[in-house]
Symmetry: C2
């Protein structure tokens, strides 16, 4: 599995499908104090990750690389209800970490590599 | 500023001062489903990051590289009380992201590069 991870800007939550800019170092915690808006946006994304079940769901999707994962498979693999899956996946989609696509009866999810790259860039120390 | 980031294991919270193991890929979300314990540990660390003020405090410390930052400077730079600084810094220390050292009257903080590297490794997709 190969995933392109060239984009490391922190896209605005409302603008996460657009091409990310050349911002890598400027988004790093180590580049200097974060301003209030950047801190707020990044905190929202970390909040989406701050739940064990969401991390497990995310790992199931991330393990498929660029392939979409059906919500129906997630309920089965994790042994949780469809409504619990939907609840957690909505938070991950809202945070810009996943894209949701409806295919017939079932929602399908894929990772947003730029969002992960942005968080890795933020956590870069040197 | 150069910070060594060779260690990418996710150290247990109770064991975060010890040398990290060779685990890089195995901790990545993309390597396959996270088990319950790994998900719990990582979620706790993300929870510490899921607050805008803590991210701003962390960025002040991270910007100093390996140098310790005095709590007295953080209160001044961010315009918040000493008790608020202490509250947030305790959560970052408990999550293993910072080390706290008492020097006379004031606490001083430095980043734990291995913890940041572990989170970056977890967010690696390919």
């Amino acid at each position: 599995m190969t995933t392109s991870l060239n984009l490391v800007d922190v896209p605005a939550l409302s603008d996460r499908q657009s091409p990310a800019g050349p911002c890598e170092d400027c988004c790093s915690l180590a580049r200097g104090p974060l301003d209030v808006d950047d801190a707020q946006r990044s905190a929202e994304r970390f909040k989406a990750l701050a739940d064990p079940m969401r991390l497990r769901l995310l790992s199931h999707v991330a393990a498929q690389g660029c392939d979409a994962v059906c919500a129906c498979d997630l309920t089965e693999e994790l042994g949780i209800s469809q409504s619990t899956v939907s609840h957690h996946m909505k938070k991950l989609v809202d945070a810009g970490l996943l894209i949701r696509e409806q295919r017939g009866k079932w929602a399908h999810y894929t990772v947003v590599p730029e969002a992960f790259a942005a968080l890795r860039g933020l956590l870069e120390l040197g």
